[in-house]
Symmetry: none
Subunit: 198 residues, 4 copies
Amino acid sequence: MKTENRKKDIVKKAYELFITKGYENTSVDDIIAKAKIAKGTFYYHFDSKEQMLEEVVNMMIASGVERAKKIIKQDMKIEEKLVYTILALRVTPEEQSLQDVIHEKENIVLHKKTNDRIIEEAVPLLSQIARQAKKEGLFTCDDNIEERVRMTLILSNEMFDHNETNKNQILVFIDTLEKIYGAKPGSLSFITKLIRED
Amino acid sequence: MKTENRKKDIVKKAYELFITKGYENTSVDDIIAKAKIAKGTFYYHFDSKEQMLEEVVNMMIASGVERAKKIIKQDMKIEEKLVYTILALRVTPEEQSLQDVIHEKENIVLHKKTNDRIIEEAVPLLSQIARQAKKEGLFTCDDNIEERVRMTLILSNEMFDHNETNKNQILVFIDTLEKIYGAKPGSLSFITKLIRED
Amino acid sequence: MKTENRKKDIVKKAYELFITKGYENTSVDDIIAKAKIAKGTFYYHFDSKEQMLEEVVNMMIASGVERAKKIIKQDMKIEEKLVYTILALRVTPEEQSLQDVIHEKENIVLHKKTNDRIIEEAVPLLSQIARQAKKEGLFTCDDNIEERVRMTLILSNEMFDHNETNKNQILVFIDTLEKIYGAKPGSLSFITKLIRED
Amino acid sequence: MKTENRKKDIVKKAYELFITKGYENTSVDDIIAKAKIAKGTFYYHFDSKEQMLEEVVNMMIASGVERAKKIIKQDMKIEEKLVYTILALRVTPEEQSLQDVIHEKENIVLHKKTNDRIIEEAVPLLSQIARQAKKEGLFTCDDNIEERVRMTLILSNEMFDHNETNKNQILVFIDTLEKIYGAKPGSLSFITKLIRED
DNA sequence: GATGAATGAGTATTCATTCAT
DNA sequence: GATGAATGAATACTCATTCAT
């Protein structure tokens, strides 16, 4: 048990370095310096630097899903639930540069693996919510819920990853969202308040 | 003139390597081997490996814009023009992994620079088309044309970069496009034929 | 302890190469070949080639000072003590070309650092001796002992660094020394025996 | 003739770079950039970078000797003539770092060559003056004039190369000079005025 | 006389990984 | 479980020199 914690500590330190400096630019030496362990200790716990990346990715996904599940349990309007869940699943601002790292690895196998896993975890959660919204008559789109959810995720990721969102962009984004789900005009405009405009 | 061609040849070879192996995994040695030049020749023409990346990016953007401009001049239905232009500006399938490279560089400055330049070049071209479509009554959306175009680009990039598009996704994509621009339902469904389903 | 010796061994090898071929002309490859270690081992122990130069310089200064201190403890005529100490502090004939290396580095910071350190260490030691000689009435110069010692060091360094000393030069040198310190004519002529004429 | 001037121009540019950045740190590219000539032009006029160094050294020595000869012709007190000549032969403050360059080259052949040539040129000129001073009864030293002159040169070089001369050092220096030549105490104290104290 | 494109041997440094203790 | 000394392949970049035009 204690050993397990030791390992998690090291992963946390690696995580911090990865999001700060990027994966490629973080050396094993950096990690052991920050974790205050010896080189051998690193390789006792982890097979390679690459495996460490996987552990870090796992950690991130797990925390996102955890945040999302908490929200789903909460008592709030269904549209809000959907939006908050999307936001919960997004990589947090600090985690963002790690996103780049994941894209980066020409090792596309890993890249797809992590990316797919996020979608894999997120789409079902969100679809469940969207379906209920349909049942309640809030959403009037056809049945391709999963695809619509997927597109929603793509859009929200791309739009807010790169921090250059202005007011009109947000308006168009909301308009698009409402249309994707067939929601009543204005029913999602509360999103405006959630996003800082630059 | 001849020298200029020589240089372009080297850029082309580098380009081929970058999209095959990725930027980080292509060494200068790889490039000079493929271009059959000496180390010094590389550094005579290019200041650094990073500068070579910029040259490659320029080459890509230039060719995309060129393709797009040709299409705009052509005589075709306005909706088709819009869609074909978007497709022309997309990085071609082979260029795709280079996309990763651009994301990758923790050197976000460069990343943004190239990304912005694509948007910079594409948004005006497309907006021009979209506005005409509005004038002709084909599009009925409000006036945030640039933002709508921008969102369109994001969506199309993300959806078709990662080659996992199925039929339903395409249907939803088309549906979304039509709604973003306020086009008549079905008016963009010709897109289906343009995209290979996997 | 053992590791410390290993490191010292490498420094010694580097030292031998530096004085043989000069600093600039000794590559890290040369050093690791001579020390029979791997490239990584070099950089495990030393941050850079430049840092290695500092280690070598330290080694030289330390050994000179050590030689000097031994002499001071010995029981001999005071004039002899002064002269022997000066000779002990000089870089040894083999160390001579390293002197050039130190001069060379346009990195004047380092140059001054090492040079100052030699003076810093040597002047006090020698002044102490010279003062005692004054007290005993052997030297009759005024009180600018430190400056006189400093000048003595400069002269001896320059004269015997470049190996082109003939008999008359030595005679003049001795004459000058005696006059600098106000010593009795002939009292330092024993120096003649210490220096090989070319 | 014109070509000869062209060549001299390039040498002058090289000279400026050598004293600014040092010989090793000046690349042929630097020189041709500053001289605004092509690579081929450099190698048309000079066999190698090393040969260029020789040309630069020649230039320096020539200008020093020229300065010295002018002074000798002038009408002034004999002691002054000696001192001014020494100062004229010293590398000028800006030329100083080139001095380091000359020392540097492990290519000791060249090093000695240039150094010897300075002495070679300077010692006769100065000895001539010193002999006359003896004849006039101003100097009372024995006959090793050349050696005394040589020592004088060494001392003045070393003392004023490194710019850390204080008042006492100058006093001791003058005292030593007077004693080396057997000049009357105080007869050389005018030197004080010539040297800026730091 | 002058050009500048091409050369390739040489250099310092990085870093993931291994393994004896 | 943990250590840290040792490894060596890989990498980007420099620069004096050559030579066809």
